[in-house]
Symmetry: C2
Subunit: 201 residues, 2 copies
Amino acid sequence: MAKEGQTREPARRPGGRTARVRRRILEAAAELIARDGIGGLRYDQVADLAGVNKTSVYRNWPDRNALVVDALAAFGAEAAPLHDSGDIDADLVDFLEALAAATASPQGRALLTLVASAREDPELRAVVDEVFKRRLSMLDHRLKTAIERGELPPVESSFLAEMLTGPVQLFVTRRARAFTRADAVRVTGVVLAGIRATHSA
Amino acid sequence: MAKEGQTREPARRPGGRTARVRRRILEAAAELIARDGIGGLRYDQVADLAGVNKTSVYRNWPDRNALVVDALAAFGAEAAPLHDSGDIDADLVDFLEALAAATASPQGRALLTLVASAREDPELRAVVDEVFKRRLSMLDHRLKTAIERGELPPVESSFLAEMLTGPVQLFVTRRARAFTRADAVRVTGVVLAGIRATHSA
């Protein structure tokens, strides 16, 4: 668990004590969800692991499902961000490379397994669907910018997300070797060339 | 369970009493694996469900893991075959449409969940890897023919398989609506256009 003052990229993280406390709580919650499952998440353990008072957790997240959604969405956004460098091809390569690493990590694998089984449960399904929705809206925002700039023809973000991340997920869960940057370049290259060839601007 | 004389496509299935008995055993085994898991598979239950003598099962599959591999590979080949109509684009669309239906079926979902968890077990991992290898060699065979005919540039079958089936798997496990033939056409169109644009013949 990253502790205050030990974060890798302090410059990128929005400051303020409240923001830092919230981030520590979300990181602790994601770690505990990966270990104990969504149903096993306990506020007192989140507080202990985050090094904050239990009331801080309750005050920020009176609703338990909201804490789960925020924790999982924050894990995804932190582990596999989609930046805007002005070059959508390069940004998607970075995104896929980070996504593969996150998916292959013990925490990422635990969370993916748990998300897959949560979808069999009617109540938990709504929670994980909300996490996917958040992730998709992040991707959607970046794609809209690329489409406006003429870098991509108009394309649904959910379709593009499946085309890009589906192969990565299969690769990571089935192959013996690690997914490399060259693999990210290759997958992104095929999908974007295919989208540009089949969708008109 | 399909019983002798009730098969949908009798013309396509190789005849002979031995072949029919083997097929019934494999279908019964796949059904029981979906219900009880790989570890729960029992020869006497396979024999009962297939309507054959237990010695028939032992004689054909003295090795238990070989029965599991053959049953899972046969389920895949039966549920999502890749035909050769002479048109690789059309054959891949058919393949993806059938794959989506098989993945969404109760038996397909049960088998996929089980295969995912089996990969965490060192011994079972070898078994499910062998199933993927069989499926891949089927795809490889069909792709080589298409490449020889000049329908596709040279491409690794494992890469193409991930590009095509990864999006289908994500779609089926995450979306609320069913994967349609139009979706199969769209996924195949983007991937093949992308492969043709980025790989030279």
